[in-house]
């Protein structure tokens, strides 16, 4: 389809703003053919500054998680079989 740069930009912004707003509402997001997003809650814990070893208090927090849909996961993995390269992790 013909798609001007301006139109593409507004579309991308609209889509990802909507996804962000849904996450803030803690709504589950499921985009067929792409994947799903969810917000996970973490309790507070006593952590350490890895450099100094000092104890630090980590406040409770929420983090977004993405899970690729089956179709996309398979497409991405299938693409790797076409390549002959050394794998790094």
């Amino acid at each position: 389809m013909k798609l001007s740069k301006g139109k593409a930009q507004v579309t991308v912004n609209t889509v990802f703003d909507a996804l962000r707003d849904a996450m803030i509402r803690e709504e589950r997001i499921e985009i067929r053919g792409f994947g799903s997003f969810e917000v996970r809650h973490y309790d507070s814990y006593e952590g350490r500054n890895p450099r100094t070893g000092d104890p630090v208090h980590v406040a409770p927090k929420k983090l977004p998680f993405f899970k690729a849909g089956k179709e996309l996961r398979e497409r991405i993995n299938a693409a790797s079989r076409l390549e002959d390269e050394s794998f790094g992790s």
Partner: protein, 95 residues
């Protein structure tokens, strides 16, 4: 939230487009992202996060159901790294 909700939002963001056009716009965005990731390239959405394809080596694993040892083959996996802005937004909305 589903793709239908995204289509409605995009429909509302433009004057004089049809719902069908809005659906095509949303589809185009996700198709472009998927094609980029399939090539092994990362996709950065400013203010939202990065979608990154990571290469995993072959490693030993277990069937959690049977406990049987198996080899997990080398593969590519898709990961999402949320931007600082998104993480801050999620936690600012705190109760």
């Amino acid at each position: 939230m589903t793709k239908a909700d995204l289509i409605n939002r995009v429909y509302g963001a433009f004057e004089g487009i049809s719902r069908k056009e809005a659906a095509e716009l949303v589809e185009t965005v996700f198709d472009a992202i998927k094609e980029t990731l399939e090539r092994g390239e990362k996709v950065k959405i400013s203010g939202f996060g990065n979608f990154v394809v990571r290469r995993k080596r072959e490693r030993p694993g277990r069937n959690p159901q049977t406990g049987q040892e198996i080899t997990i083959t080398a593969r590519r996996v898709l990961t999402f790294k949320p931007s600082q802005m998104l993480k801050t937004g999620l936690n600012a909305a705190d109760d």
